[in-house]
């Protein structure tokens, strides 16, 4: 019995961790964990989730159990959220055994992503169409595609060497500015009226923390103030990082070449 409860709590924590690390809202994580615990008749559960940790403590038959799980990765993977959502619904409504549940969660954690080259291309599409939305012309659009493709590709490659999201975003800002400047200097003689800032805007779009800041305020408005503040500081730090990357390269360019 004790063993079963321990396993159940591990499953609940694992499901919560998968959701949290892939960008789910705090209330969704807490609801999922509570639902999984309640469905198998745990007497009392309390759980507290913030973006960097999950705390879960339960009482059953006079015994106390408590778990703390530290969580780390910051990324958005909506497929995993959707899969865990389906899983928790199935787990609650059917008599799934605890071992199968564990297997299923492990399979979800390894759910296939899109292949890297598709992600890079669509990253390029996402950024370059923002350039058009901000009023860029077709040549700037093509350049923004190249730079945002490089940014998405470069940031993913860098991510393998450094775990720090700060450094990754500084590098992302640098790559986008460097790419935009190089392309503009190369094509300056053939086309007139190329605006570097339009290209930079588009190519940093895959990095800027727009969704992060909105999610932060969503958490705050629903009453999860600690999560909200924590996500807000993440968004601000990402914005600082990108601005440092872009600003550094722009300053170097000003120093060496004196502007476009």
């Amino acid at each position: 019995m004790k063993d079963d409860i321990r396993k159940l709590l591990e499953i609940a924590i694992y499901a919560g961790k998968l959701m949290l690390e892939n960008g789910a809202e705090t209330y969704r994580v807490e609801e999922t964990i509570n639902m999984i615990c309640k469905s198998k008749g745990i007497d009392r559960t309390q759980n507290f989730t913030i973006p960097t940790a999950i705390f879960l403590s339960c009482e059953h038959d006079g015994e106390f159990y408590s778990y703390i799980e530290r969580t780390k990765s910051i990324r958005i993977d909506l497929e995993i959220i959707s899969l865990v959502n389906d899983f928790s619904r199935e787990f609650v409504n059917t008599e799934m055994s605890l071992d199968t549940a564990n297997e299923k969660l492990k399979a979800i954690a390894n759910a296939p992503m899109y292949p890297p080259w598709i992600m890079n291309i669509f990253g390029g599409v996402a950024g370059s169409f923002f350039t058009l939305m901000f009023g860029g012309n077709l040549i700037e659009f093509a350049m923004a595609f190249i730079t945002s493709f490089t940014v998405v590709f470069g940031v993913r490659k860098m991510g393998k060497f450094t775990g720090s999201f700060f450094i990754k975003n500084v590098l992302g800002g640098m790559i986008s500015t460097l790419g935009a400047l190089c392309l503009v200097y190369l094509a300056k003689d053939y086309f007139d009226l190329l605006r570097v800032d339009k290209i930079i805007i588009g190519s940093i779009m895959p990095l800027v923390p727009g969704v992060a800041i909105t999610n932060a305020l969503r958490d705050s408005i629903s009453g999860d103030f600690v999560s909200g503040m924590s996500k807000l500081s993440e968004a601000v730090i990402i914005a600082v990082a990108i601005a440092i990357g872009v600003g550094a390269i722009l300053n170097v360019e000003l120093l060496i070449l004196g502007g476009v």
Binding site: G123, V208, G210, V236
Partner: protein
């Protein structure tokens, strides 16, 4: 009002949807939700000249569309909403404010940064309101099916 930007918004949402690894069957729907939201945003921005209220209206439409698609596809609404609000979110504003701070142009930084925060609050509250609408609707549906038994 440039209607071509609706198409651009749709395509860039699809791009972001792939970056966020959303389930394949949800890609086009999230693009549609986002493009509609952007359309509403354009209408309100040109008629009211208020960026913040327009963002609220656009995000609310995205949220409602997300709830509808969520019922239709049996997926959580977030999957449609997160890529859908991409054209509205003030990521660029936040970055621009930081760039201005690094350039020691504090006055402009405060202005742009504050508007970015307000837009984010508007979008967040619109999404929460649409989620609540979805919840109320679901609860009423449940009550109606339970009563006759």
């Amino acid at each position: 009002m440039n209607l071509l930007t609706i198409l651009y918004a749709f395509i860039s949402i699809v791009g972001f949807a792939v970056l966020f690894n959303i389930p394949r069957k949800a890609i086009l729907l999230s693009g549609i939700a986002g493009a509609l939201g952007w359309f509403v945003y354009l209408i309100f921005r040109t008629s009211l000249a208020s960026n913040i209220f327009a963002s609220f209206a656009g995000a609310f439409v995205v949220g409602i569309m997300g709830e509808i698609f969520a019922r239709y596809k049996k997926q959580p609404a977030t999957i449609f909403v997160v890529p859908g609000i991409i054209p509205l979110v003030p990521g660029y504003g936040l970055y621009y404010a930081m760039l201005k701070i690094l350039e020691k142009n504090y006055q402009e930084a405060v202005g742009v940064g504050f508007e970015a925060i307000l837009v984010a609050i508007a979008i967040a509250s619109a999404v929460i309101m649409s989620t609540s609408c979805g919840r109320i609707y679901r609860r009423r549906l449940k009550l109606r099916t339970k009563v006759p038994q």
